[in-house]
Symmetry: C2
DNA sequence: GGGTGCTTGTGAAACGTTTCATCGTCTCGC
DNA sequence: GCGAGACGATGAAACGTTTCACAAGCACCC
């Protein structure tokens, strides 16, 4: 314990110099086979484990990248993380996962530590577009950064995001094709860019073909969905929408519960389309149609952009990758025979 | 970038020695206020960021612990992670999250890297009780390890887990109190210790009071739940159980769907109790009664045990903490008026 | 037999901190 | 006016690696 065995001990036991041991570790081809074997044997015998701090100190940088997410318990982000991990693994790079828990302060502290660790790069969904000075400092000092799900406002960085306007359009086209002419949008608050975009795409694609009622919600939770369902159910049948598009799946689940509770059938009386395609969309009492985002792909691509920027020393073109979501159709919009 | 500013540059600008700068960083009270301010000013001016590798190299150990989980996308583990993070934060320690994805090989690689990083300790749910040699090596070389949700078989380590036998009992007592005398257990495969324990506790608490039908499932998914519901629904009404206890919430959601689909009402015809109390248990079409595990508490306690072992140099008593789950009662077992 | 080139191995100099023994300077009490 | 402390600051020695200029040995060719 106390006296950790170092490269020196290995060298002594194998009867070579420390430089040779280091070469066995990092450039085995420079060492004659016999020597290499002898050193390997000594390493095994002593249970030597390389001290990464010393290596990093000498090398000047680490072999890890970090991903800072808003919420580790959110399925969206865990999938993004998994995608990032897979891509990083392919390149022999390690991913450190940090959780800002939507707190500006915690985000700042994480960036402090990451910079002390000299991580090679950072993937991040910033908590707040207004408090980014710490992040800008990191960038200014030379750490590559890729923005995840926050395309706008950072033209000078790489970013990956999903096209929410298009997602809204997908939902609208699907409902129109199913013959709906009175539809509702449930979502909010309208300060969230994602909600705005989904609403915009939805509304634009409806055009004059269908009438749109917008129900603004205070947040994106199941409870808000239930409340919204109440408002819709109270309308006289002739004015009541025959389909609802929700800004995320939690709302959709709430709307489903609320409507069912009031005796309206899904999809016969009211069809529902959600957003995100979380695992439980398929497992709901009436499986939900939903707009699916390529979450893993998001993480994977972000990582590849980052690694590219790290490797291409200097001459790197920043890119903004926008993914197209897809609609997954299930029972909540498809009348079962 | 290339020429990173170090403690030396700060010292020069502030007109002091490097030792003094280091003291400002680590033992501010040893430095006179005027000097301290001057140094701080220089640090800010140069944008100096301490190099953690060098610090660690000198100090001999890091200030981070690691948690190795089976699956980052599983809500159970993300909550455990959050608990660990919270506890660690209180002690100024950092948590590195590693994802073994239930792969023995990936677990081994993670442990390799963590040992090179000289983490202070490791929280881990081992992938496989049969392939633990890498972990034992880590322990043998002196890194403290606490086992999470894997109590048995490691008497010589600290561990935290939840009492699954008691959880089964809770479900049984609740159903008996509600007057059920024909009940079913849905879960499997019976090779999983957790499933065995839940079944055992459930069965034992029923005793002779109620008749038990056990439906063995191939796994713990929503689909399996639906299939199981089909089997139950086919029974003639006099033999059909009036309540079902499922080994986890996914199964329970599947059973709920399956029963509803076949025209049986929950809870009027059949009551359901799930296990885990995942977020969607409350959001289901019929909100599910469920046995809740203190997931965050699990992570928090594991971290505290680990930190205790780290601090108490040598004289540390290994402990095995077993948490008691609690029953959350919702509409799926409570006839709504 | 001397020059050339290749393969292996060497050993010391970094890398940027922290620590620690030491030294100067002040203050205070007598 | 002197010794005892307290207080601040110093600078060199670690920490364990990687790198790099160089040397030793050997084979080969003219």
């Amino acid at each position: 314990m106390g006296a950790t065995t170092g490269i020196k001990d290995v060298a002594r036991l194998a009867g070579v110099s420390v430089g040779t041991v280091s070469n066995v570790l990092n450039h085995p081809e420079r060492v004659a086979e016999a020597t290499r074997l002898r050193v390997r044997q000594a390493i095994a015998e002593l249970g030597f484990v390389r001290n990464d701090s010393a290596r990093q100190l000498r090398a000047g940088n680490s072999r890890q990248i970090a991903i800072v997410v808003l919420d580790v318990t959110n399925p969206f982000f865990t999938d993004v993380v998994r995608g990032a991990e897979m891509a990083a693994e392919d390149h022999g790079v390690l991913v450190v996962v940090c959780n800002s828990s939507e707190s500006v302060d915690r985000e700042r502290r994480h960036l402090d530590v990451l910079e002390e660790q000299r991580v090679r790069g950072v993937l991040i969904t910033p908590v707040d577009d207004a408090h980014t000075s710490r992040l800008e400092l990191l960038i200014a000092r030379g750490t590559p950064v890729v923005l995840v799900d926050r395309g706008s406002g950072w033209p000078s960085r790489c970013s990956v995001a999903v096209d929410d306007v298009f997602g809204g359009r997908l939902a609208a086209e699907h409902l129109i094709a199913r013959g709906h002419r009175r539809v509702a949008f449930v979502g909010g608050p309208m300060s969230i860019q994602q909600v705005i975009d989904r609403h915009r795409g939805f509304s634009a694609a409806l055009g004059k073909t269908a009438r749109l009622i917008t129900v603004d919600t205070p947040n994106l939770t199941v409870t808000s969905g239930r409340v919204a369902a109440g408002q819709l159910a109270e309308l006289p049948a002739q004015q009541r929408p025959t389909a609802v598009f929700c800004a995320n799946d939690l709302l959709a689940l709430g709307v489903l519960q609320g409507l069912t509770h009031r005796g309206l059938r899904v999809p016969e009386d009211v069809a529902i389309v959600g957003y995100d395609d979380i695992e439980f969309a398929a497992a709901a009492a009436v499986p939900l149609s939903s707009v699916r985002q390529p979450r893993e792909q998001l993480g994977r691509t972000a990582t590849e952009l980052l690694l590219d920027e790290i490797q291409a020393n200097g001459d790197h073109q920043h890119r903004h990758v926008l993914f197209q979501p897809e609609l997954v159709v299930r029972a909540s919009t498809e009348k079962v025979p």
